[in-house]
Amino acid sequence: MTAAVTCTALAHAFGDTRAVDGFDLTVSEGEVFGLLGPNGAGKTTAIRCITTLLPVPSGMVAVFGRDAARDRMAVRRLLGYVPQQLSADQNLTGRENVVLFARVFDVPRRERAERVAQSLAAVDLTDAADRLAGTYSGGMVRRLELAQALVSAPRLLILDEPTIGLDPIARTGVWEHITAVREATGMTVLVTTHHMDEADQYCDRVGLMHRGRIRALGTPAELRRGLGERRGLAPTDPLPSLEDVFRDVAGSGLDDTSGDFRDVRSTRRTAQRVG
């Protein structure tokens, strides 16, 4: 089976800052893979290389066997992408937002309305489809963005911090829709998140990223069990959390490296807009 995503020795620098440095990753087809790490770990840069937004100056990135550096249009046709920011246009209705993406992915006119309706139904937005997106709650906007990504039938869905700023109920709602759509379509999901509890609950495998590369890789249970064994915990002791695993892998000094001013501002803006 072809891997959904393959990154080999990927490196990308902004000036003197090596945002991604020796990044190796393989995401299998059909899995939900969580890329975890603090702000500034290099998650977004890695995602941008995979989505063709950034060039691949060093190393190799392939999506379902297509080279992201040389075959950009073919890679883009395989992707559905939801950025961290609330990117739905608040001055359009939910339906119009999805129609735009149907059009730029060349959905023919004869099936456009039905495909858009199915995308909106998949995220339970049928009733709100003809309201302006500006009137939606934060959770609804995230679901709308999911519908925009789904309308082109992507094989790989990439979600950058999809639940940032959402309350726990809305977070659960977004994840339930991601899980349901993934089960129904079999698509691969690559998600970045700060929330270790979400990764633990919803991801098949996770990669813990720090200072530009993957520091630990496995299922959440494997990683927690591994740390428990390293710490010599008894079988009856509660397993460490993913956050414990992450602190163990990354070591000290996390607070000093977690994101620059722009990262934090962007995160806060998104959280503020979600409300």
Partner: protein, 286 residues
């Protein structure tokens, strides 16, 4: 040209059918070659019209300034008779200049809009679609043209109400539409190119304000090129707004104009603008 995406996942077909989302398993067949550009342009223009249909406030508020130019400046200078207009009332002479000005003011904000779209994640999301950067910029340039065209219709109606003797020849009006769209495409690309260089809204607003009025006053919108000092005539010669105004005057009022030259310059300017803005778009995506 991109190849067709790989086949959909068959294992999930039954579950998707049960949920009524079977179309979401089938990737659309990609358009190829020359058909990509008009499809993207149409999609982005449609968005602009949809937004205007939901909220016409901008249309009304943007009509105020041209109305004031025609009402106050136009009527006052018609009485003074200080500006040689080739025998037509000054307000008639002014109207095409104000149409071009209001279209330019709309287009020049597209750079700020594209920076806002970058900050909101909209730009990145569009750049991850199978849309070449040049098609995205062309789409935005023509969307600016569509918006400016609607503004031009409003100004033409105001001018007609003020008694300006405009043509109602459909072919000439079609020519007016083409000129307004081309002019707006250039100015929106100029603004998006600057956005790709300065990368921030604050800087772009400063530069936008710094260049908008010189472009306006350094054109033939308010007065003929012949009465300008030599240095301003030189600026006017390389200012696409002058060619836009010249063409609009010729089409709407029937004054002597260099329509072929005007059209050629605006096509060339729009093409160069699209090329420059497309080349700089990558800087905004980083």
């Amino acid at each position: 040209m991109s190849e067709a995406p790989a086949a959909p996942r068959s294992a999930s077909a039954d579950r998707a059918h049960e949920r009524g989302i079977d179309l979401l398993l089938r990737p659309p067949v990609p358009r190829a070659g020359w058909r990509v550009l008009p499809a993207r342009v149409a999609a982005l223009c449609a968005v602009e019209l949809q937004k205007l249909s939901h909220d016409r406030t901008e249309l009304y508020t943007r009509a105020v300034q041209p109305a004031l130019w025609l009402l106050i400046f136009g009527q006052t200078f018609s009485r003074i008779r200080a500006i040689p207009t080739g025998g037509i009332p000054y307000i008639d002479y002014l109207a095409p200049g104000i149409i071009a000005q209001s279209a330019m003011f709309i287009a020049i904000f597209y750079g700020i809009m594209i920076i806002w779209e970058r900050d909101a994640g909209v730009l990145n999301k569009l750049l991850v679609t199978p849309t070449p950067r040049s098609a995205l910029i062309t789409g935005k340039a023509f969307a600016a043209g569509v918006k400016s065209l609607i503004q031009a219709v409003v100004v033409i109606l105001i001018a007609a109400l003020l008694g300006v003797a405009l043509t109602w020849n459909p072919l000439k009006l079609l020519g007016v539409a083409g000129i307004v769209v081309l002019g707006s495409a250039f100015f929106s690309c100029l603004s998006m190119s600057i956005a790709g260089i300065v990368l921030s809204r604050d800087r772009l607003m400063g530069i936008g304000q710094a260049i908008t009025m010189p472009l306006f006053f350094g054109s033939n919108a308010l007065y003929p090129v012949a009465i300008m000092p030599g240095w301003l005539q030189a600026i006017s010669k390389v200012n696409p707004l002058s060619y836009e105004v010249d063409a609009l005057r010729g089409l709407l009022l029937g004054t002597p104009a260099h329509l072929a030259l005007d059209f050629g310059v605006l096509v060339l300017a729009a093409a160069l603008g699209i090329t420059a803005a497309s080349a700089l778009l990558g800087r905004l995506a980083r």
